[in-house]
């Protein structure tokens, strides 16, 4: 499907990513240009069709002349940019980020309904995480099974907020939000009430489909059975933005 009609006065810039000379529209972000050109950049919070969050830091890239790393999802391209997406330093940081996600909560892949279909698990393998070097926090988190169709397991939540954004921006219900800080931070439904008691939830299941891990799943699924389908998102997002 073609992208929505855009204004013709957007300029084109040229830039260099991993030694390749590329051109892009100046209103594009680095991650969009990379995805268009099949340059792999890992990400967890970024999802095409949702607003940019910039929280997971997995898409950090190196920009020549810049001391700090930039998140590819939240940085627009500019003329003459020289970008490296997969240096040894970035690989080391990405591996550490994924390890910290595993250490923070309780992602027990072997007994997860999303086993084999999980973006975190996939990224761990891609980033060479064969073990976690920091001690596990071993903190206990709740499971909310009050919704008749879906289940929320905070143990497996990485706080990417895809659920919050899809519910607000695409479904228009804004059932989901975030409360608390640091390790107490968690996603909530309505005013931190059980999901099943929510007045605003339409049970559309978009949050479940965009969740990258086994945090939001369908009831009644067993180990490895939760396969998610995100094909609806770019289509609905285009229609939303066209309105």
């Amino acid at each position: 499907m073609p992208p929505p009609a855009k204004q013709s006065n957007v300029r084109v810039v040229t830039l260099n990513i991993d030694g390749r000379d590329l051109s892009a529209r100046e209103d594009e972000t680095i991650i969009e240009v990379c995805r268009e050109n099949q340059i792999p950049i890992p990400s967890l919070c970024y999802l095409e069709g949702l607003s940019v969050w910039g929280a997971c830091r997995l898409c950090l890239v190196e920009l020549a002349g810049q001391g700090r790393l930039l998140a590819a999802c939240s940085t627009r391209v500019t003329e003459g940019m020289q970008i490296q997406t997969n240096t040894e330093k970035l690989q080391r940081y990405r591996r550490t980020i994924v390890e910290l996600l595993f250490a923070e909560r309780n992602h027990v892949c072997s007994v997860c309904v999303s086993n084999g279909h999980c973006e975190l698990q996939y990224l761990a393998q891609k980033c060479g995480v064969d073990h976690v070097r920091v001690p596990y926090r071993q903190a206990s988190y709740q499971v909310d099974s009050s919704h008749e169709m879906f289940r929320l397991d905070h143990d497996r939540c990485i706080l990417c907020t895809r659920c919050v954004r899809v519910c607000d921006e695409i479904e228009g219900a804004h059932t989901w939000d975030v409360m608390g800080r640091g390790s107490d931070c968690r996603v909530i439904t309505d005013m931190a009430q059980p999901w099943g008691d929510s007045d605003t939830c339409t049970s559309c299941g978009k949050c479940v489909q965009v969740c990258p891990t086994g945090a939001l799943v369908k009831q009644g699924t067993s180990v490895g059975e939760m396969v998610k389908d995100q094909h609806f998102l770019p289509i609905l997002a285009r229609r939303r933005h066209a309105q």
């Binding site: 992602h107 027990v108 072997s110 996939y122 393998q125 060479g128 995480v129 064969d130 073990h131 596990y136």
Partner: protein, 180 residues
């Protein structure tokens, strides 16, 4: 053509389900080829009762959950040149570590008192004391090779052993992952 000397391998399971060892046996006919290159000097799969002084490769399945697990992990580290964490329990605690969210006394009561109707009692003799926190192997001793998976496939174990036999350190991420 002279055959290269065999490498010695010791294995044992700590707090695991023995599934990783079963996956080891799933190498099937490749086990015949393996014994051309490997001497299994200590393992639940063989008769030897003591760990030899010097072993080339030590393979540990399961997490460290009891004093006995801890002793075995320390002994393997002391006597093995290369130590391999085999499977998710050894690598990240996996299912055994799920009890870490509860107090140890609550866990023991759940198993031996709350769910028992006749003469509930907590065994203290002939069983090793449980540690309060379940840890992966590398939480107590240094580990050289990590092979995640629940269990790692026979192919993954074959790859890891083949690399070790060839004198290389394998990269298991190319063949297995958490929960595989």
């Amino acid at each position: 053509m002279s055959t290269p000397p065999k490498i010695t391998v010791a294995t044992t399971w700590l707090d695991g389900c023995s599934g990783c060892h079963m996956s080891f046996l799933d190498m099937d006919e490749r086990l015949i080829e393996l014994v051309q290159h490997v001497d299994i000097v200590y393992s639940p799969l063989v008769d030897t009762k003591t760990l030899p002084d010097r072993v080339d490769v030590g393979i540990l399945e399961g997490s460290v959950s009891s004093e006995d697990d801890l002793e075995k992990a320390l002994a393997f580290r002391k006597h093995c040149k290369i130590l391999v964490s085999l499977g998710d329990c050894a690598v990240n605690g996996n299912v055994p570590a799920m009890r870490n969210h509860f107090k140890l006394s609550d866990v023991v009561d759940r198993a031996y008192r709350d769910t028992v109707t006749i003469q509930p009692q907590t065994p203290t003799q002939g069983v090793p004391a449980l540690l309060s926190v379940v840890k992966p192997i590398h939480g107590v001793v240094g580990v050289d090779v990590f092979v995640p998976g629940c269990p790692p496939s026979a192919d993954a174990i074959w790859y890891v052993l083949s690399e070790l036999i060839a004198g290389r350190i394998p990269d298991p991420s190319s063949v297995t992952r958490f929960g595989a």
